[in-house]
Subunit: 344 residues, 2 copies
DNA sequence: ATCCTCCGAGAAATCGATTACACGTCGATC
DNA sequence: GATCGACGTGTAATCGATTTCTCGGAGGAT
């Protein structure tokens, strides 16, 4: 591979001049032409590693997500990648596999690789490296998940409005005994969703008793299924369930099907996160859609602001209820939701 | 951030010695201890950019995939990432978005970043950069998709066995008029699947007329739906459909549901790619499962072999039929497939 | 005609590591 | 006791770019 010295020789100038031409710093007309010709003839492309060493900028951002195979994170990663790319940055995606130790490991290697900034959707709250990132001065932005004690802006969705709409939706459809499947207490995201849902229901005089709050240690479909089983074995089972994650919803649906129960006749189901196939499920599922792509975009912009030394605040974008048929009302029907339902 | 010079000073040795200690080259006991103590006290971590410049090894692999939001690629990427990581490499994932120009763009930036090797699941066959990668001497391994004219080993799944089993399965269940939804003619993967399916059916005296071969320009669900619509409007519609991609299957199912047709009573459906929720669909879908994780692992190993200068041949791993209920036979029942069906 | 300014371009330092080479020390050998 | 190896360590070159400093020449002002 040709390097800058080869180009300089061929063009009959110094390496400094080549560098200046390529970075648009000063040289003009004649020299410029010669240099560009040499670059073309040799097929020269600057070595980014050398450039990064000198400028202390790698043009690379890091993104750590909880689980690469979770469609929510996938879409988030896709959006982040798109935006980063269009702004001239590469993205290194790290998959924490929902394990804090693996996450820390990944953060370490990203730091060693001198990324310009880091986006983290943290697995758990016990990451010790996050503190070190802040201490090291590497710009950090949290994504989707808050981490208590880490001083960095956070870009995430606000479920208040959507959950308020959901409570109204359920109330209007006559569901009086709702339940929720969440992550274990202590998980900021889970705690918040539970709290907001409970508050929203209360406004309609509907209670959310503790028996109807099912926590799963794993955020997987087996956990969702176990919780649904417990709900159904209750003396007075719920008539509507909100699953706060798409995988847990899968498990819940399996348990319903195994018992021959039908959605929405026997049980209303609402799922957090808009996964493409939910729209094609039978019946199409009512979901709480987070503005995933916007979150990704906003996160990149917030991070770039920090990289460029500008101040950057946290961002909170509203999630919204997308009413389809899994609570008993067809999507096209009279649905107590002000925002437009999406077309199939 | 402390650098190697700071460590050398603090330990009272030269930078060479520090480097040697850290890379386990020679120094012993006493000096070694002093250096390690200094490293600890300063929290020193070597700058990978500088190291990469000197050693011409970045410890980074590139992976280009067709579409980050396609669950098949997601699982593939996850497997590749896992394996690369466990072998001490980082992975930069590039999302081609199924567009050859964006793919070329991405390959260029990866090359500029001096990655040690590249894995490509190519979008289309018209990528001009792939030739340049080979020419540049960067180790290249194709993944899942062949690209004619590119001299590099390819790691992918062999559908012959699975399609042979599928033909037997369909024949045993009395399906006499199968159809297939594929990518347009000229797509190596699509062409091959069509050819193998047709051959396998022929062995059972079943024809696959051209009217029952539906090509979609986009590999999206809209295309799948359009093809299914055309099939159903045929004077003599098929009684079984093989969708060669999970997104196209989604569209096909939508069209069936819109017409009130049921799987498997009115139409058998088989899908290429094992996507988690297929198992939870109603009815659970019969699929052709590619050994995705094994493909990812094999690809990394093949690439590392090339990086280390060893010879590396192409790898072909068998896909297998996972018979569930979408062709009319319950998964637990008598199914003409020698391999074990998976548990739910 | 002389001097000053400005601008383009080259020489060389620099980023932070690795590593070839050279040197000094020590113990072993005859 | 001199010579030779082996070994540990320091010096300095090197990777490929960017950037500062410096210089020489051209052109304008006096």
């Amino acid at each position: 591979m040709a390097n800058i010295k080869d180009v300089a020789e061929r063009a009959g100038v110094s390496v400094a001049t080549v560098s200046r031409v390529l970075n648009g710093h000063s040289p003009v007309a004649e020299t410029r032409e010669r240099v560009l010709a040499a670059v073309r003839e040799l097929g020269y492309r600057p070595n980014n590693v050398a450039r990064a060493l000198r400028t202390a900028r790698t043009g690379t951002l890091g993104l750590i997500i909880g689980d690469l195979t979770n469609p929510f994170f996938t879409e988030l990663a896709d959006a982040v990648e798109d935006e980063a790319r269009s702004l001239g940055y590469s993205l290194v995606i790290g998959n924490a596999g929902e394990r804090p130790d693996q996450q820390d490991d990944y953060i370490r290697t990203l730091l060693d690789r001198q990324i310009d900034g880091l986006l983290v959707s943290s697995a758990g709250t016990g990451s010790t490296m996050l503190g070190e990132v802040v201490a090291s001065g590497t710009p950090l932005v949290l994504l989707d998940r808050i981490v208590p004690g880490v001083d960095a802006p956070c870009v995430r969705a606000d479920g208040r409005e959507a959950l308020t709409d959901l409570a109204a939706h359920l109330a209007a459809l006559g569901r009086r005994r709702p339940a929720i499947i969440v992550a274990p207490a202590g998980t900021p995201t889970g705690d918040e969703r539970l709290r907001l849902f409970r508050t929203a229901l209360a406004a309609h005089g509907i209670a959310l008793p503790d028996a109807c709050v099912g926590a799963t240690p794993d955020l997987q479909h087996t956990g969702g299924r176990a919780v649904m089983r417990a709900f159904l074995d209750l003396p007075e089972p719920p008539d509507a369930v909100l699953a706060t994650d798409n995988l847990m919803a899968l498990g819940a649906m399996d348990e319903l099907r195994a018992r021959g129960l039908r959605i929405p006749e026997d049980m209303a189901l609402v799922v957090y996160d808009e996964v493409p196939w939910f729209r094609h499920a039978d019946p199409p599922l009512t979901v709480i859609a987070q503005p995933t792509r916007e979150l990704g975009r906003a996160a990149v912009h917030t991070l770039l602001a920090r990289i460029e030394g500008r101040e950057a605040a946290s961002v909170l974008l509203p999630a919204r209820l997308v009413a389809r048929s899994s609570c008993g009302e067809p999507a096209g029907g009279r649905v107590p939701v002000p925002r437009p339902a999406d077309a199939v």
